[in-house]
Amino acid sequence: MKMRFNTAVIAVSLAVLVLAGVGCKKKIVDPFPASGAVAGWDKGDKTQTYDAANLYEYIDGGAEQYISAGVVGVSTSDYKFQGKLEVTVDVYTMKTADGAKTIFDADPPTADSKSVQLGDAGRAYGQSVVFRKGPYLVRLTGFEAAPGEADALLALAHGIEGKL
């Protein structure tokens, strides 16, 4: 009888732990503003997600750096500004805010980069913006230089930050 009771206690404890674990597990988020939600920006049709196991399919050897920092996964989507300027937005979900900081801090500033107020820390370049907020590391990458691009990227970045 005692053995049955112990077995039941262990089973219930395991179940609680598993459920707690599931509850704590971070999900890969979908923080992408819909078309028009940020003035001038249209979202592409596809949102793709990769987890730690298949991240290399998206960023090849670059995946190792993120895996070491505790990546859960990434959501990625393309945007167009005023129908022309194309941008890819990657939102990495890390296990911890420290993981996002590790990735953010690994990038050396450039002569034309500047700090911007986005999330916990942000940096803007001519054709890209990177910021972190809690466990999220967000990167907006433009594919060509265009007038007004920096301001447009920042506006989109703020739109994404608001959904995180």
Binding site: I59, D107, T110, D112, S113, Q127, S128, G142, F143, E144
Partner: protein
């Protein structure tokens, strides 16, 4: 070469000398000869839009190929490389998207030259590991009979039987095994594990399990992989798009760490090509005030392994590399 003013400089081990020095026939380089690497740049390659000037890209290709083969006619180099009836494929590195992938204009120019050299359109395959990478680089997937095919190994599949060399056990893409000749079309990028990714690392895109080969700075995996007979024997010529290159933060495209090299590199010796590419990245890093790849902990050790007595894939000795740099003005 009307309307072009060019100057030629050959740098051997960092010292500029005039003249081409070496004339290696296709596939006939001897151990005592220097490995030739040709880089041609065109400062007017770009248009105001995202794509380069198609006419200038085609001219750049002809110029580089003629310089490499010492040919007077732009078609002659291709007739030395291919024979009618062969299946010729172009393995691109398009993982970084169109900003850091071989341009559509360059691929189109090569396909045209191949056809003029007698290769049927249906026997030309433009490919990447994943077809979506090809699409993201601006190519439209196509499997139309009788036309140039644009596809990926994810669609064509991999051979059932694994092959092994040293540290590498893998399955090869059926596109590789079905090709008689593969033209390797990499791009120059910093890589946060291996230092610089170029010709030899691009072979990670012809196998089914590249993610298993990134430990220990990809060494000896890269060298061992390039020793697999189907890769060593079929992937024999490199045409690298140097329009844009990445000096930090790679292998993904990072505009803040990229620069316009506006050139094209051709050659056969994959180790020599990667050695020169590493120098190009090192030079840009120094210019930007960044530490060296060695200081960063990513010193391209695979180059030493690839050149060692066991592998003999080429030379990483600058004294044995004839770098020919030309500029189209």
């Amino acid at each position: 070469m009307q309307n072009r003013r060019e100057f030629v400089k050959e740098m051997v081990a960092g010292a500029a000398v005039l003249g081409t020095g070496t004339k290696l026939a296709w596939g006939q380089a001897k151990a005592t000869e220097k490995s030739k690497v040709v880089i041609v740049r065109d400062a007017k390659l770009r248009t105001p839009g995202p794509a380069p000037d198609e006419t200038r890209v085609a001219a750049l290709l002809d110029h580089a190929m003629q310089a490499y083969f010492g040919a007077q006619n732009p078609l002659d180099p291709w007739k030395k490389i291919v024979r009618p009836g062969q299946v010729v494929s172009l393995k691109l590195n398009a993982m970084g998207g169109r900003a850091i992938a071989p341009s559509v204009a360059l691929v189109t120019a090569i396909c045209e030259r191949l056809q003029q050299a007698g290769i049927k359109p249906g026997d030309i395959i433009v490919w990447e590991r994943n077809s979506r990478d090809l699409e993201s680089a601006g190519f439209k997937l196509s499997d139309a009979p009788g036309a140039v095919r644009f596809t990926g190994s994810d669609k064509a599949g991999y051979e059932d039987a694994a092959v092994t060399y040293g540290s590498v056990t893998t399955k090869l893409s059926k596109i590789l095994t079905q090709s008689d000749l593969v033209i390797n079309m990499p791009v120059v990028k910093n890589h946060n594990i291996v230092g610089v990714t170029m010709a030899m690392k691009n072979m990670y895109g012809v196998i089914n399990n590249p993610s298993t080969m990134h430990g220990t700075a990809c060494d000896p995996y890269i060298a061992d992989l390039n020793m697999i007979p189907q890769i060593r024997q079929k992937v024999r010529f490199v045409v690298a798009d140097l329009k844009t290159a990445v000096f930090e933060g790679g292998p993904s495209y990072r505009p803040e760490y990229s620069w316009n090299e506006d050139g094209l590199l051709v050659g056969e010796d994959r180790v020599a090509i990667d050695t020169i590419s590493a120098q190009i990245v090192q030079r840009k890093r120094a210019e930007k005030g960044l530490n060296t790849l060695e200081q960063k902990g990513t010193p391209n050790t695979y180059l030493v392994t690839a050149a060692d007595a066991q592998h003999k894939l080429g030379t990483n000795d600058l004294a044995r590399i004839a770098l020919i740099e030309q500029h189209i003005a």
